[in-house]
Each structure stands twice: as C-alpha cells, then as structure tokens.
C-alpha cells in the first residue's frame, strides 16, 4: 500500500548577508553558524490520492495507543495508591498534632497563602453528601494549615456550589478552628471561598472601576491595575496551590481561577487524591519546601 504523504526535505537558506548592528564590544560568531546550523524542516505536500485503508488503519492504531496510554495512567495511579497506603502504614502516630510538629520542623519555607482548587472534572457526579465530606475535609485542613503557620487559606470551586452554601461554611470552619486553638496562642487564619465569577469577570469589573474613578488611560500601569484587581478580590496572590479531586492525568486545569493572582503561584497536582487527608496535605507542603518526606520518626 502506498503511503499517502510525501515529505520534501529542504536545505537551509543561505547565510545571512545583512549588516546587523552589534552591541558595542561584542564580537559574536553567531552569524555564520546559525543559518547553516538549523535543522531542515519537513513540509507535507498535498496528497493527490487518499488511501482509505491506511486511514482506517491509522485510526485503529490511534485508539490502541490511547488505550495503551490510559492503561499506563491507571497502572501509575494504582501504584501510587499502594505506595500511599504503605506510607500510611509507616506512620506510627495517630496524633495529627504530633505529626504536624514533626513535619513542620523539616520545612524550610511555608506559604503565607495556600489555595486549594477542587477540580470541576468530577463535578457532575458529586452528591450533596460528597460536598459535605469535602467541606469537612476543608475545615480540618484549615486547622492543620493554621498549625503549620499558614496565614491565609482559600478554596476555589469553579461551579460556585460551595459558595452558595453561604455563611454556614464559614461558621463551620471557624468553629472547628476555634476548638483546635483552645489552650494555644491565638492567631488568625483568613479563610475564603472563591468561584469562577471571581476569575476573569473580576478583571473586567476592575477595569470598569478604573473608568468610574475617572482615571485617565495614560495613567494606567501594572501597579494601578494590581491595586484595583485586589480591591475587587477577597484573596491575595497564593504562593502555593493544591489541585485535587480530578481525573488521573499529569496536567492541571485551573477552571477559571483568577488569572491576575497566579503570576508566581506554584502548582502541585494531587488530582488523583479525592480526600484531603493529612498525607496529601503534608506531602504538598513538603514538596513546596523541596524537602524529602520522612514518614514517622
């Protein structure tokens, strides 16, 4: 069966003859090497006769490759789950505060603001009961975060489902945190719930506010926009973001998180984790701190 594509290998264009201005004091040998050194491109020429059988064969092969890759992902996920179970087993203590003290001592840096992104990929399968579990996990995480010395915790749920639960969420979280803080030195933790409407739309709102305050366009610079965007926003820029409860893949998807805030945010993918247990939480902080995790004592 004849192939459907003919590739034309081409040679590199001739060496440069333009007199490019060099920076003073620089004599770079670049000019002659670069034009010759580039790899030849390969351009497809149009096919005159499409071979249907090759096409079908390729599609079948493609599906097989997809299945193969998915199998690989599933294998990796199962393997990581087993490793996590083993690590859980290694941890001898059940006292979370003791664990936190141990892990905290190894951290070289702690984020001021940690953001947790609940992926939307499994959204339509979530029941009210599952949202309740998520909320429970989040309240507990807020206590651990406080213990580690994190000052701000935000939760991003694109759909706004969590936000719509309203004041009850904040009450539940602050109650649990207050209980945790008994007999300890009091310190605050800022807790916010963010959704898609706080993302891109809030930037256009900030722009409208700039107009309303009659600021001339020539005076608009990055610092000014920064001020207005943060005025419209409940949260500061997160140093670290934990993404969880997603489908198993190596990419992360932000689902509409406020774009202005993520300039320097570090992202850690825990998409295969569906609960925010202590292992998930602590391993994220340790990874951020670029420290190897040591389990138990």
């Amino acid at each position: 069966m004849a192939a459907t594509v003919t590739i034309v290998d081409t040679t590199i264009p001739k060496r440069l003859t333009t007199s490019s201005k060099l920076e003073p004091g620089q004599s770079l040998q670049l000019i002659s090497d670069l034009a010759v050194d580039l790899p030849p491109p390969t351009i497809r020429t149009k096919t005159t006769k499409s071979n249907v059988i090759v096409d079908v064969l390729c599609r079948i092969l493609l599906h097989l490759i997809h299945i193969g890759y998915l199998t690989f992902i599933i294998y990796k996920t199962l393997r990581n789950m087993l490793i996590d179970l083993y690590h859980q087993h290694l941890v001898t203590s059940t006292d979370t505060e003791e664990l936190i003290r141990f892990d905290k001592a190894q951290l070289t840096k702690i984020p001021k603001h940690l953001s947790i992104l609940i992926s939307s990929e499994l959204l339509h399968e979530r029941t009210m009961k599952e949202w309740d579990i998520i909320l429970d996990d989040l309240c507990r995480v807020s206590c651990w975060a406080w213990e580690f010395g994190i000052e701000e915790l935000s939760v991003f749920d694109a759909s706004g489902e969590l936000k719509s639960l309203g004041i009850d969420v904040y009450k539940r979280q602050s109650t649990m945190l207050h209980q945790w803080m008994t007999n300890k030195e009091k310190r605050g933790l800022k807790f916010s719930i963010v959704s898609a409407e706080d993302g891109r739309p809030s930037i256009s709102r900030a722009a409208q506010n700039i107009v309303k305050q009659k600021i001339p366009s020539e005076n608009i610079d990055i610092a000014l926009v920064d001020k207005f965007v943060h005025e419209c926003s409940e949260i500061s820029d997160p140093e670290l973001m934990l993404v969880y409860d997603a489908l198993p893949h190596s990419y992360i998807s932000l689902d509409g998180f406020p774009p202005w805030h993520i300039r320097l945010t570090e992202f850690i993918n825990k998409g295969t984790h569906h609960r925010l247990d202590y292992m998930t939480f602590s391993s994220t902080l340790l990874q951020y701190s670029k420290v190897e995790q040591r389990f138990g004592r």
Binding site: I43, R44, S120, R200, V211, Y251
Partner: protein
C-alpha cells in the same frame, strides 16, 4: 569508520521514519489549535552539558525551538506561542541580555528571508509584548518580520518578547478604558470578551495546552489569562533543549483523551 557512519544513518532514518509514522497516526485524532511553551532551562542545560558559558544553552534552545515548531506544524497545530524573553529578564547580566538580543536579531532576520518552514506552512509570525523596551534595531527587525508575514493567517507563531502577562492584561485594560474615554464604547461593554479581544494573542484560538520545561511549577507571568481557564498546564521535568517530539507525545495523548472531559464540565458550569 564507514561502518559507524552507516549504522548512524540507518539509526537516523529509522528514528525519522518512526517519528513521521507517529505524527501521521496522531494527526488523525483531535489536535490542539493553540499550544504555548515556556522555554525554560537553557542555562541549566548548558551547565549539565558541561559548557563553559550559558550561551551554548540559548543557542541549543533556539535550534530546538525550530524543531518543535516544525513538528507542531506537521501535527496540524494552528498556533504556537513561546515565551522567549520576559520583561524581567532585562535584569540579567548585560552580556547575557546582549547575546539574547543578538539571537533575536538573527532569528528575525532568518524568518524574514525566504524560509521554507515559514513559507511552506504560511506561518504568520507575531512578536508580542512591550516592543518599545527592545533595542531599536531589534524592534525594526521584529516589525519587518511581522510585515513580511502579515498576510499569513492560517498558522501563527507568536514570539513573546519582551512580555509579561500582567503587562498584556494592563495594556488590554488600558485600551478598553481609552475606548470608553473616546466614547467609542460604553462602560458596560467592558466585559471578559472585550478584554480578551485586546490581548496580544487575540488573533489565535483559545490556549489548549501550556507546557513549561525544566521542572519549575509556576507560570512566571506568562499567558495567565489564557491559561486560567480551559487549558491543560503541563509541567515537564526536562530542560527546553531536551524537548523532543517523543517527550511531547504524552502531552498530546492526554489532550486527545481528556479534552472532552473538561469541556463537558465547563458547559455544565455555565448553565
């Protein structure tokens, strides 16, 4: 000696044929329309390769960029956007900045001459960013290459230099506010869409995949708006000059397998 060169040409041929076959098969599936790359790790690559100077890394990085652009075009990817130089990078040593500016001079010149890759795929080259920060002759060359390819609208190669995303968003907001000032637009017409339309990348389709090499796990002020929604952010551990088609393959597969997953959910959200 003839034996070794024979073996190496057989190996090269086999490698190229496998790559062509893989591209042929993969292009039957869904192909992303817009892919972004953060070209990170050139200097560390130079150190790893034992080079005495980071210039080697940037040079190899530029060669790799051409290879990546080539296989992206062969796959059928419509827009490729690369983070070539950040406005923050001006803070680097004078020597390094001067070398990079020279690379850009040569790159823009090469692209504005008869170039088989650019002409063959009819690629429109756009240099995006705050161009006035560049040395004036580099600016001129940038405008020259953009003018030469301005009629190419099928494929885009966006070179972000010098660029930061906050600068891009600020410019878009500035233009929106200016239009309202000039009474060409109502304040209520400043929306997500109107800001999007004034971004440097507005001629390209929405960003499908953003790839960062070198193992860093942040976006460093690149395409923040575009990557914040409906985009698969892939953080690779290899250095930029090491990004071959085979390292890109799993990224492409994840896009083909999972693309529908996030899109279906987004439609649910919007209801």
């Amino acid at each position: 000696k003839n034996m070794t060169s024979l073996i190496s040409s057989i190996y090269d041929y086999g490698y190229m044929t496998t790559e062509k076959a893989a591209i042929g098969i993969l292009s039957r599936g869904r192909i992303p329309s817009h892919v972004g790359f953060i070209l990170d790790g050139n200097r560390r690559y130079a150190r790893k390769a034992g080079a005495s100077n980071t210039k080697f890394g940037h040079y190899e990085g530029f060669k790799q960029l051409n290879k990546v652009l080539d296989f992206c075009m062969r796959l059928g990817i419509q827009s490729v956007t690369v983070f070539a130089f950040s406005i923050e990078n001006f803070k680097r040593s004078e020597e390094e900045v001067a070398y990079l500016m020279q690379l850009f001079r040569e790159a823009f010149t090469i692209f504005s001459e008869k170039n088989e890759l650019i002409d063959g795929y009819r690629i429109g080259i756009r240099v995006l960013g705050h161009l006035s920060y560049l040395p004036s002759d580099v600016q001129e060359l940038a405008h020259k290459v953009m003018k030469k390819t301005e009629h190419n609208t099928e494929r885009y190669f966006n070179i972000c230099c010098p660029y930061t995303s906050r600068d891009e968003m600020t410019t878009a907001i500035k233009e929106n506010v200016k239009l309202v000032e000039q009474n060409k637009m109502n304040i209520d017409d400043i929306t997500e869409k109107s800001i999007h339309d004034h971004l440097f990348t507005s001629a390209s389709p929405p960003l499908d995949i953003l790839v960062r090499t070198s193992g860093e796990i942040r976006l460093s002020d690149f395409l923040l708006w575009q990557a914040s929604d409906q985009c698969q952010i892939q953080l690779l551990n290899c250095f930029w000059p090491e990004l071959t088609f085979w390292k890109f393959l799993p990224i492409l597969l994840e896009y083909q397998i999972y693309h529908d997953a996030s899109h279906n959910n987004n439609n649910d959200n919007k209801e």
